[in-house]
C-alpha cells in the first residue's frame, strides 16, 4: 500500500514537471483559465452547448466620465467578438496587461480607459447570496427565541445555538472583557459566519455558488477595515494613551515621537495582516484546485488523450483531497480572522491595572 502510494506520488511529480513545461507552451491559456475563475467576473459562466455559452448574466453598472451612467446586462459585453464594443465598452481579455478581465471604455479619442465600475459582479452576487443565506439562517431562530425564550429548542435552534456558542465561547469570550462582550459579539459573530459561509460557498463549483469572494482583496480589505474601526474607534482612553504616550524612556517619545509612530503603524499592520492572510489562503486554495484541473488538459493536450485520462485519475484524487483540505481551511481562516479581531478589540478595551 505504501509503495503503491509512493509510486503514485512519484508519477504525479513527474507529471507535474511535465505539466510545468507544458504550461510554458500554453501559458496564456492556463493563466486566463485559472485567473478567469478565481478573480471577479461579469457573468456566471455555467457551460457551453454547441459553442454557445450558457451564462447567468449580471447587471453592469458603470459611470463614464464622458457619457455618464450606463446600466445594461453583461450579456451584451460578454458576447462581443474581438474588436467590437457595446456602447463603447468591452471586456479586456485576461491577457491584457493593464486591466485583465475588466470592463474598459474606448473614449472619443480612442484611448482605453477604465470607467467607474459599480457592476453587480459575480463576487457581489456571492456577497449578497451569503448575506441572504445568513439572514435566512439566523433570523428565524432569533424570532423563535423572541417568541418563546423558555421553550424547548428545536433541532434547528440547537444547530444555531451550537454554531453561535462555538464562536462566542471559543473565540470571543476568552479575548474580550466580559462587560464588553454584548457590544462586540454581534460584529464578531457576523464576521465569522460571513467569512465561513463565503469560504464554503466558494468551494461549491456550480451556480449560484462558486464565487471566490473571500479570495478577493476588495472583500478582505472591507472586513479588515471593519475590524480596524472596531478596534480604534471604540478603543478606550488607556489604549490610546498606550499608543500616543507609551511607558517607555522619555527619549523614545520626545522630541522625536519614535514609539508613537511605531505604535500607530502597528495599528495599521494588524488589520493589514488580517486582510492578506484571509485573501492569500483562500486564493491559494482555489488556485491549487484549478491548477490540478488544468493539469489534466495540459497533459492531455501534449501527450494525447490516454495520458490525459491517466492524469485525471491522480488529479481528481488530489482535487478531492484539496477540496477536503479547503473545507478545513474555510473554517480555520474564519476562526483565525475572528480570533485575531477579537484579540485586537479586547486589547483596545483593557483597563489599566490598579496597583
Amino acid at each position: 500500500m505504501r509503495t503503491a502510494l509512493r509510486h503514485i506520488i512519484l508519477l504525479f511529480m513527474l507529471m507535474l514537471s511535465v505539466g510545468l513545461k507544458a504550461e510554458e507552451k500554453e501559458s496564456l491559456d492556463v493563466k486566463s483559465f485559472i485567473f478567469g475563475h478565481t478573480s471577479d467576473g461579469y457573468c456566471f459562466h455555467i457551460t457551453e452547448i454547441k459553442g454557445e455559452p450558457v451564462c447567468v448574466w449580471l447587471p453592469v453598472i458603470v459611470h463614464s466620465k464622458e457619457t455618464g451612467w450606463h446600466v445594461f446586462s453583461s450579456k451584451h459585453v460578454c458576447e462581443l467578438k474581438e474588436g467590437e464594443t457595446y456602447q463603447s465598452f468591452y471586456i479586456a481579455p485576461m491577457t491584457d496587461p493593464k486591466y485583465p478581465g475588466k470592463l474598459v471604455e474606448v473614449n472619443a479619442q480612442g484611448e482605453i480607459k477604465r470607467p467607474f465600475d459599480l457592476s453587480f459582479t459575480r463576487n457581489a452576487f456571492g456577497i449578497f447570496l451569503v448575506c441572504g443565506f445568513m439572514l435566512a439562517f439566523f433570523l428565524p431562530a432569533a424570532k423563535k427565541y423572541k417568541k418563546d425564550p423558555m421553550g424547548t429548542p428545536t433541532k434547528y435552534q440547537g444547530l444555531v445555538e451550537w454554531l453561535t456558542y462555538m464562536v462566542l465561547d471559543g473565540i470571543i469570550c476568552p479575548s474580550i472583557p466580559k462587560s464588553k462582550v454584548p457590544k462586540f459579539a454581534p460584529y464578531l459573530l457576523t464576521v465569522f459566519f460571513f467569512i465561513f459561509f463565503c469560504n464554503l460557498f466558494g468551494l461549491i463549483p456550480f451556480f449560484p455558488f462558486g464565487a471566490n469572494v473571500t479570495g478577493n482583496l476588495s472583500i478582505t480589505l472591507v472586513l479588515a477595515l471593519c475590524t480596524y474601526v472596531a478596534v480604534n474607534i471604540f478603543g478606550n482612553r488607556h489604549y490610546w494613551k498606550d499608543i500616543l504616550w507609551p511607558d517607555v524612556p522619555m527619549f523614545l517619545k520626545f522630541p522625536i515621537p519614535l514609539m508613537p509612530i511605531i505604535e500607530l503603524i502597528s495599528t495599521l499592520t494588524k488589520p493589514f495582516a488580517l486582510m492578506i492572510r484571509l485573501f492569500a489562503n483562500i486564493l491559494a486554495g482555489h488556485i491549487i484546485i484549478m491548477v490540478l484541473m488544468a493539469l489534466i488538459f495540459i497533459i492531455g493536450g501534449m501527450y494525447g488523450a490516454g495520458l490525459g485520462a491517466a492524469t485525471s485519475v491522480i488529479s481528481i484524487f488530489m482535487m478531492v483531497f484539496m477540496t477536503a483540505l479547503e473545507c478545513l481551511v474555510a473554517y480555520i481562516q474564519a476562526y483565525v480572522f475572528t480570533m485575531l479581531s477579537s484579540i485586537f478589540i479586547g486589547m483596545a478595551q483593557e483597563e489599566p491595572k490598579e496597583e
Partner: protein
C-alpha cells in the same frame, strides 16, 4: 498584479451587503439568540439550585422523621418495660396479698379448730366426768363382794357406754 488591487465597485457592494447583514443581525439576530440562551442558562441553574435546596430540605425532613421514629421506638420500649415492671409488681402484690389472706384464713381455721378442740375436750371431760360419776354411782349402788365380779361389771359398763366414749 491586478489581483492585488482592490476594486472600488466590489468594495461598495461588499460594504453595503455586509453592513446590512451586520445591522440586521446586531439588531434582531444575535441579541435574541444570546439573550434567550443566557436566560435559559440562568433558569436552568436556578432550577438546579432550587432542586438542591428542595433535596436538602427533604433530607432534613427525612432525618427528622428518622429521629421521631427512633424516639417513638424508644418510648415504646420504655412503656413496654414499664408495663412489664408494673405487671410483675402487680403479680407480686397479688401474690403477697393472697399469701397473707391464706395465712389469715389458715390462722383463723387453726384458731377455730383449737377452739373447737378445747370445746370438744371440755365436752369429753364433762362426759367422762358424768360417765365416771355414773359408773361410780352404779358401783356404789351394787355392793359387790367378788373382785372378779367387780371387774366384769366394770367392763360391762364400759361396753355399755362404748358408743358414748367413742363419740
Amino acid at each position: 498584479m491586478e489581483l492585488f488591487l482592490p476594486e472600488s465597485g466590489l468594495m461598495f457592494w461588499m460594504l453595503i451587503g455586509f453592513l446590512i447583514v451586520l445591522l440586521i443581525l446586531a439588531k434582531v439576530g444575535w441579541p435574541m439568540i444570546m439573550g434567550a440562551v443566557d436566560k435559559r442558562n440562568q433558569h436552568i441553574s436556578d432550577s438546579l439550585q432550587e432542586a438542591q435546596e428542595a433535596h436538602d430540605a427533604l433530607a432534613g425532613i427525612e432525618a427528622a422523621k428518622e429521629k421521631a421514629l427512633a424516639e417513638s421506638h424508644a418510648e415504646q420500649i420504655r412503656i413496654m418495660n414499664e408495663s412489664q415492671e408494673l405487671k410483675k409488681q402487680l403479680i407480686e402484690e397479688a401474690r403477697n396479698e393472697a399469701r397473707a389472706e391464706a395465712e389469715k384464713i389458715v390462722a383463723d381455721a387453726r384458731l377455730k379448730i383449737q377452739k373447737e378442740q378445747t370445746e370438744a375436750m371440755n365436752q369429753i371431760k364433762a362426759e367422762v366426768i358424768t360417765l365416771s360419776v355414773d359408773i361410780a354411782e352404779k358401783l356404789l349402788q351394787r355392793e359387790l363382794s367378788d373382785k372378779d365380779q367387780q371387774s366384769r361389771y366394770v367392763e360391762e359398763l364400759l361396753n355399755e357406754n362404748k358408743p358414748r366414749i367413742e363419740a
